[in-house]
């Protein structure tokens, strides 16, 4: 039950839901993906056609018309205030929420048919559809909030949802810790994680050849946005490289334009959006993956790097990244620019090698798709047993 769904949709929560839907359908569950027609939350409410289509793995995709206001003024104003660190009162918070992409037909459908589903999994917490789903079918709704400590999480519009939903699945323990502190009356919850696809093989040399990259590099993979720490990463890397010139480069992969200042251009290689295969190969070719985001609820890219046997250097401001690094023993965190620079110098040293295969072992133990699906099925049996459900 995401707000948006489709091949062009890029987002961690949408990815987790898609894989969950496909995985459960492959295990024989009847799965409906209920969503709107928007491609993104900036506008474009009518990108997809409403209707029903069959998905490749056996799930059914049901799209309802999405609507937005003309001006989006309450949304824009609310976002500006949140960015400034100003609080929104209850009225302003609900105006902000209801100025999101709305899907009234989906709400009506759940009012009529919500009780016919064993569970309605809604994600991520931020969007109107998730709040509305919980209001329409609270006793069937399981939240997959993909939550982290950010100004929107403080808004009162989510209080009822986290209290009234039947349950809540978290991706990591730090995410659950944050939710327990934020909502002391948090509904029943558990940490399920997210399943990660395990590539059959890697071709690091092929990636280097296809993109003309010779020397050692560290990789950034994801959205090139300030909220993900991208700007600061480029700035810190370029400053360090200018101060101590060396062969190490920063390769940045992801959709959309990459804001790279001219001063950083000699040290940064933009390879744009990569195919699944190229992404796997890039992970294997990299000296390390850098995860600069201070706001992560899971960090799939860290898992992909570890599966490829690649070390991870992450922003320690993210409790989730720190937690993964500590548990896996296959990553390190930095607190500031000086520590980041120290790690870059270490990675540039040909004598340095990653500790061992601990990262890959960690992902195979905790986050393969079958492992996560087993946890999900066990929780469905426990929280929403089959009696009385069609």
């Amino acid at each position: 039950m995401p707000v948006r769904f489709g091949d062009e949709v890029i987002g961690g929560a949408e990815m987790v839901l898609r894989e969950l839907a496909d995985g459960l359908a492959e295990r024989g569950w009847a799965v409906d993906v209920l969503t709107g027609c928007a491609r993104d939350h900036f506008g474009g409410a009518h990108w997809y056609e409403p209707g029903v289509t069959e998905l490749a793995h056996g799930a059914r995709l049901v799209r309802f018309p999405s609507v937005t206001s003309r001006g989006r003024a309450h949304r824009v104003l609310g976002n500006r205030r949140l960015d400034r660190g100003d609080p929104l009162d209850v009225r302003a918070a609900y105006e902000w929420l209801n100025d999101d992409v709305r899907v009234p037909g989906l709400f009506e459908y759940l009012v009529d048919h919500g009780h016919e589903y064993r569970a309605v999994v809604a994600a991520p917490y931020l969007y109107w559809t998730t709040v509305a789903t919980t209001a329409a079918a609270p006793d069937r709704t399981v939240l997959l909030p993909c939550l982290h400590d950010e100004p929107t999480a403080a808004l009162p519009v989510y209080d009822g949802m986290f209290r009234d939903a039947r349950g809540c699945w978290f991706l990591t323990e730090p995410e659950a810790d944050f939710a327990r502190k934020r909502w002391p009356d948090l509904t029943e919850h558990a940490v399920v994680g997210a399943g990660v696809r395990v590539p059959e093989r890697y071709d690091p040399d092929g990636f280097r050849a296809r993109y003309g990259i010779d020397g050692p590099f560290v990789l950034y993979a994801g959205r090139r946005e300030s909220g993900k720490g991208f700007g600061r990463l480029v700035e810190w890397f370029a400053r360090g490289a200018a101060r101590r010139p060396g062969p190490l480069r920063l390769v940045v992969a992801g959709p959309g334009p990459a804001p790279i200042p001219d001063a950083a251009a000699p040290y940064v290689v933009d390879v744009g959006a990569l195919s699944e295969r190229d992404r796997d190969d890039a992970m294997a070719a990299a000296r390390a993956l850098v995860q600069p985001s201070p706001n992560e609820s899971f960090s799939r890219t860290m898992m992909e790097a570890w599966l490829a046997g690649t070390f991870v250097v992450a922003n320690g401001a993210s409790a989730v990244s720190r937690w993964h690094c500590e548990r896996s023993g296959a990553g390190a965190v930095y607190a500031d620019e000086a520590e980041f620079a120290t790690w870059m110098r270490r990675l540039a040293d040909p004598a340095w090698s990653p500790p061992d295969d601990a990262g890959r072992a960690y992902v195979l133990r905790e986050y393969t798709m079958p492992t996560v699906l087993d946890r999900v099925e066990a929780l469905l049996d426990q929280w929403l047993p089959i009696e009385g459900v069609r």
Binding site: S69, A73, L77, N98, R102, P104, V131, A132, A135
Partner: protein, 127 residues
């Protein structure tokens, strides 16, 4: 199929009356009625129209004409709506106090204007 109009606060809303409206909608839809929900502000309802404004009241009055059932959740309907309700056979009223809704001050209006609110362009020009 019988047509029902339900007017009232609707989720997602901070207004506790939203739960009353939703319960009415559930019951009417379970009975098989064709239900249109009108909420005073944008919500999960298909239509938003504020009964306290002249434009909103007229719109609600237009929509309730010809309905078989009208459920009204909130303070007493304004005159324009009350007139239209006289022709509806089954009118159910759940009296609820309106939530105090302070109108935005000049500073907030200007901020909304800058954020792209077309309605405030009109209201400021009228003054």
């Amino acid at each position: 199929m019988s047509r029902a109009i339900v007017v009232g606060p609707y989720p997602p809303t901070a207004d506790p009356a939203g739960a009353v409206t939703l319960a009415e909608v559930r019951a009417l839809r379970a009975e098989g009625l064709d239900v249109l929900v009108i909420s005073p502000e944008p919500s999960a309802a298909r239509v938003d129209a504020c009964p306290q404004t002249r434009h909103g009241a007229r719109r609600i009055a237009r929509l309730v004409r010809g309905a078989d059932v009208v459920v009204w959740v909130g303070p007493e309907p304004p005159a324009a709506v009350a007139r239209a309700l006289r022709d509806v056979a089954d009118v159910r009223v759940h009296a609820a106090s309106p939530r105090p809704r302070p109108s935005p001050g000049i500073a907030e209006r200007l901020e909304l204007l800058r954020a792209g609110a077309p309605t405030f362009v009109r209201s400021l020009r009228r003054r």
